[in-house]
Subunit: 133 residues, 10 copies
């Protein structure tokens, strides 16, 4: 049984409130790819925070994009930067951060986090952490 | 059985301490609306923090206002900005932030947070997070 | 915007392992109905555990069935027994328990739990609580 | 400002499902009374679990009943038994347990729990603890 | 049984270390007052942080002062500012913050936090949150 | 500064509800004594659960009794049995359990728990664990 | 990049202590398969508890066996029974339980748990839950 | 730097209360040994519960005994049974359980638990879990 | 049995890395002293963070120093400043903070935190809170 | 059985995204060494955060490097600075922080944290704490 719907295509829609710098955080705990060296499955939570400019990332297409890594070899450091680049290319945000928390391997927990500053002067207003978590 | 009490009307009362910039945080874990595409129910916690100027938001009317979304289609990004705009229009605060943490959909947790700076120079004094939580 | 897909119809499929008494637990934290007296929204987690006989409950239809309560008046004690009766009628299980944890109202947290013993001699093997929770 | 609505009167309604032994748990974290010796406020969570026979306890009246202790002196051991007796008298349940977890006093946390077996042969089916807590 | 020891009188003692700006945090989870509209009991945690100048607040008298609200009507926004004003008047601190986390009412959790800057240039050194919590 | 109030004397009062087997749990997280070998301080939580017969243990005297160990040498295994014996002698309960959770020493956490069955046939009804914890 | 090491082959080794009924619990939070209807990825924690007879399951081969589901369609109810059958066939244990906690789908959390009683009279001694969790 | 103090010698002392069946639980979160196949370090929490007969295990010697595994190869299943046998031989208890929770290896968490019934008729009174944890 | 090893003497050793501003945090949850007014035992966690200059505090001597308060009367505000002064005198650090979280008394939790700035320009690099806690 | 694979050799690979200042956090909860004074085992979690320049630390070699301390005497303050120096020498990062949280010894929990600023002007962008933890 193969998954045919995953795709590298990221769909966007028009930002409903371009006049304001507001933050969107999307946390995806079900990311899995393969270790390029051993072919063994790797698991991570991908946490994306961005301040949209003209465009927003469409949720379903983000899901399909992340599934596209299921059978791909991906080094922790490289893949997080790759995801940031792909998302930035798709919606050219004012600001974006992608954080990848990888499950333990060899007794070590790895977390990689990369940021992109689109429009100069845009700084993260509030920590869009789950206030109630 | 239909709900007739919900209403878009936001009631206010006079700020008892206008001489001081103090913060009010109101967390409403029982927000539900409909996904505009699928009509399926969506659930979220709405977390509102503001520094009142002349007026404060009356609690009961905030409850009825939030219920008014129960049968409405609402996109995550749009509805949080809409709630912020409605609340700002009602009480013209010195500062206000509205955060919406939406339940998981398609394996992704979305949190949207928007801010409004009324009186210039007003900055958030203290993180009105629940100190004891 | 009205939800038309919700329905009282519960779909089932053939139990793949009728030779064994095994347990299925389905926890639905997004249940909402209306208080019959005040019309105000009520929220609950519905936790269903059952040992199937010939039939299993189809997940999607359970979701639509639970949505059917969104605009209905429902007393806590009555609605949990009603859900148990409906589910038992649909799949005539060897054993079933339905637990409803209702959000706080008037400072009180209410939990109602009802059980059905279909085939005599069927006793709950293991507490199908999330071992890793 | 005195509270006039509290009352020792416990209202009941007819059990909608008398044919089944099902459990109702009501947890009230906002119980307060006075220490009979020092007059100092005492705080507790009252956790009530019962299997109704012909009658169920009406939620609002339980709230008003518990408020009636606000200005009364109450020894931990005595008051929990008193609450159990009052509730049993009001609805003559098949089974009932009342647990009172009192806040720390003098560095000691006290919990008192009393049970009533109405109909012989009625045993607690399932631990009506909040499964999802 | 009435409580006679509560009093609005706040006692103080001389600051043992006036030469240093150090912080004192006092968290009182057992605050209760009445809702001015409905007369129903309200419950909150009051969290006080201050940098003393010449005087410190005596613990026992703070306890009696907070009890004095047990039978008083108090709006959330107003009462937190009132407590801050009373405490500031009693010990004229270099800095003080009072935070009130009120229990859920109508499905909404309210937290009010107000600050007082006594001596200019005094800024909060360290977040006197319970490091080990 | 020496502590003079601690005493081995345990005071009791008449059980208000001798007709019923109900449980009292008293948890004291502030127990400290000395290691008999090294003289170094030891810390523990003492958790007492009992079903009273004619007499109940008076809270304040329990506090003073536990303080009496502050400067005494006490082996974990021995002292828990000693406390159980003293408490049983004072109130001759139908059932009693004393559990001592000692802080880590040499990387090992020790917990000792002893039970006393007074009246034959008395079995622990409900786990008097803090239901809401 | 395809995974070639996964395999349905389960390797075993001789039980070092066949004279005693002892329990082995193996929890695998990194299980993923595909939904047979939609082809979308599904995620679960598989929790295995067994009392070995002559043979024990070799850890590495269990890992490769569970990976073999990565690209397979698997219904929750069916796959848990299938895993139990495969493991029982490989080591013919005295007792075995397999529990699958599946991530939320359509707002519902599903947990399936099946048991196998090999040698009659073997009952689960202790709840091999992580005592320290 | 080699550790010379670790030793397989287990020291005991006379049970101060042989007339009573009481339980001692000793939890050692700092156990480490080597994987026999790869030589890689393995880490576990060893949780020991026993009802002493004439003899108790001396804490310090238990610490040195557990350290003796630091440089030894040890299979999970085998080593837990070995520790149980050694402890039983040293103090011939009425009942003893040894549980080993091993850190994750290859994405799998293993827990092994073995029991010994010395004196027939001795059954575990109370779950000596940390009541306050 | 009196404790003779406790002493006010604080021993130090040479800072192994004086060229770098690094932080040392030492948390002591087993601090106990007496209330000067009532003689009743008081319990606290003392949390010490400092950037050493030429000298570091020796762990064992810190333990003995903190034990020296076991039988001393100590006001919360005073004793935290006293501990800071003693530690600063012993090792003249570039920066030091002492925080005392005292157990609840009269329903109030007190936390006192004082800081010392030795070398001007030394500011706390990173929050040496337990990252993994 | 001795471990031969551990080594002080730290392997690196080319930074895939040198054009961006991104953060890598690696948390190793399984660090153990010996106390230089007593030879007793010590346990810690080592938490490493760095912004790579041209080179990244290879995960497996970090694991082997940390194992090399298993049989070495190491003072808390010294060893954390040593690890930072070794890692900095291996990959000359723009920024690096090493934090060591040591298990409790003598009732005290020690945490040592040291930082290295490679390229001037590099400041830590985001707190690479596990956002979802
Ligand atoms: Ca790729
Ligand atoms: Ca909040
Ligand atoms: Ca609308
Ligand atoms: Ca606090
Ligand atoms: Ca488990
Ligand atoms: Ca009364
Ligand atoms: Ca559940
Ligand atoms: Ca700390
Ligand atoms: Ca409860
Ligand atoms: Ca298959
Ligand atoms: Ca344990
Ligand atoms: Ca334990
Ligand atoms: Ca307890
Ligand atoms: Ca002194
Ligand atoms: Ca970390
Ligand atoms: Ca997040």
């Amino acid at each position: 049984m193969s998954k045919k719907q995953s795709s590298k295509e990221l769909e966007v829609f028009t930002n409903p409130n371009p006049d304001r710098d507001y933050e969107i955080n999307m946390e995806c705990p079900e990311f899995t790819c393969l270790c390029p060296k051993t072919g063994q499955p790797d698991f991570a939570t991908i946490d994306i925070t961005y301040i949209p400019d003209k465009l927003c990332i469409e949720l379903k297409s983000l899901k399909l994009y992340l599934w596209s890594y299921r059978d791909e070899g991906a080094f922790h450091e490289k893949v997080i930067n790759e995801i940031l680049d792909d998302l930035v290319k798709a919606c050219r945000p004012r600001y974006m951060q992608v954080v990848g928390e990888f499950n333990v391997r060899g007794g070590i927990y790895t977390t990689v986090s990369a940021e992109h500053y689109g429009k100069s002067g845009t700084k993260r207003k509030s920590k869009t952490k789950r206030p109630s978590s």
